[in-house]
Amino acid sequence: MSQEAKLRLPKEQAPPAPELAAARNPKKLSAVGVNFYYGNYQALHGITLDVRENQITALIGPSGCGKSTFLRTLNRMHETVRGTRLEGQIMLDGRDILEEDVTAVRLKVGMVFQRSNPFPKSIFENIAYGLRVNGYKGGRRGIEEIVERSLQKAALWDEVKDKLHHSAFGLSGGQQQRLCIARALAVGPEVLLLDEPCSALDPIATAKIEELLFALRPECTIVIVTHNMQQAARVSDYTGFFLLGKLIEFDSTNVIFQNPKKTETEDYVTGRFG
């Protein structure tokens, strides 16, 4: 993948026209009028957007604009913080995730965090963790297969296949992050949320992760928060621009970066602020 810093889409083929894309890729995850509060402070104002199935959706915006906060509502991780309140609906395949059992939701919507957070266990046990806590019945052989498959999807298998039972902390930063991706993939999520996954990584590690996101796209819906506009332009099919807790514009990436409809969007993507 080339490292050009241009704002044009460096993809090989031109993206499908928006209408065709909509027809081919139904809505997977939709936010409807989401308001979010930290105590009395309103962090998100009426967010409504649709994440398309098997597409990569990027959320961009300056620091503190609410994109990470919004991402965390998509798998209800906001509930781990006290004093928060959410209004609105979040529909996964047409069902509101706020009404479902939260652990079942998180099985379907996985998350990779900004800083890698492997457990103090072996590489193998890190990946097997999700299977064990969810009562996987496939036995040791089944777990081994899934571990191998997940590591391959995360482009980490070749590097660690001989040290599966070594501590995860022996890996480099980029490897640990790919381990976290493999761990999230092991439970077979339909949606994968990534919160600035490359912000702590060097360009080469970043490129590896971007490559594997492309490879995952056909079987997984991906939402990625990034403060790196070039990354958003390289990687995503759809982009949402957040500013001060509001969703200013949401459209196919082509449109956002080449032909934005709002002046704030244009100012941001052309680097006039942020």
């Binding site: 009404e99 479902e100 059992d101 652990t103 079942a104 806590v133 969810n134 009562g135």
Partner: protein, 282 residues
């Protein structure tokens, strides 16, 4: 709609079990308090505070001498323990180097871990034996030694919490180090140090074992510092294991008074420390 999966059932069950543990632990405290109020409060009367113990076998009397005795012993203990602890803590925080500091901290922790009965027999050998008799003084020394480690630790902790920038401001103005410590650093840490001291006093106020072979006990008033003296905890012990019902009644009253005192000091000191600050652990 919640799914009743196995892991959710286990989750709620464990929430219940751990909650029961916590409630039980708190419940014990409430039971202790309640029972002492019930048994001790009902036995309390003015005579408890004003009269001397009745001759053995007779009912009535009070523990006035024990109350005064405890006060005297605690006073001496504070006079010994607090200065050494406070100044020692200053040394650790402001003056010492790494290796010396490590040695002193280690020794302080060691001293803190010495069982109170052992302190009692050591002070017996070092003070009572040479003096030839039990004394209030010896009791004060024993409790004073017990006060030192907590005093050191809490002083040091609160002094270290004062930001370096405050010290630098004072020194940059040309003030000598000791003056900066006395007029800037200590006042900033004072609230915590005082709270720590109060907790320290409360802790030794309830100690019985070290007094058994130092202050011993006394049926009458003890004058000065050279005579053995009655103290509240030792009276409770002696009366509780004694054969007379009346003694048991008085032991409850004394227990109630002692517990109230100790808890009052504790609650005040901890509240004064406000949330999130270091509370020295006995």
């Amino acid at each position: 709609m919640k799914a009743w999966s196995r892991k959710n059932i286990v989750n709620y069950t464990m929430f219940g079990i751990t909650g029961a543990c916590a409630i039980f632990s708190v419940g014990v405290l409430i039971f202790i308090l309640g029972y002492l109020v019930y048994k001790g409060g009902s036995s309390l009367s003015l005579s408890f505070f004003t009269q001397l113990p009745a001759p053995i076998g007779e009912t009535g009397g009070g523990m006035a001498n024990a109350i005064v005795g405890s006060a005297k012993v605690l006073l001496l203990a504070s006079a010994i323990g607090i200065p050494i602890g406070f100044v020692g803590g200053i040394y650790l925080s402001e003056y010492s180097q790494k290796s010396v500091a490590f040695l002193i901290r280690y020794t302080t922790d060691l001293l803190n871990g010495v069982p109170s009965i052992v302190i009692g027999i050591v002070v017996y050998g070092l003070v009572v034996h040479p003096m030839g008799h039990y004394s209030t003084f010896a009791g004060g020394v024993a409790l004073g030694i017990m006060m030192i480690p907590i005093s050191v630790r809490s002083t040091e902790e609160f002094l270290l919490a004062v930001p370096m920038s405050l010290r630098e401001a004072g020194l940059a103005l040309g003030a000598p180090k000791w003056k900066v410590i006395a007029t800037v650093v200590i006042p900033a840490a004072l609230r915590g140090i005082i709270s720590g001291t109060m907790l320290d006093i409360a802790r030794v106020a309830g100690e019985t074992a070290p007094l058994l072979f130092t202050a011993l006990g006394n049926q009458f008033w003890s004058s000065g510092w050279n005579e053995p003296t009655a103290t509240l905890p030792v009276m409770i012990y002696n009366y509780a294991i004694g054969p007379y019902e009346d003694w048991h009644r008085q032991a409850w009253a004394a227990g109630f008074v002692l517990l109230t005192l100790v808890l009052l000091i504790n609650v005040t000191a901890r509240l004064a420390l406000s949330k999130g600050t270091y509370v020295p652990r006995g």
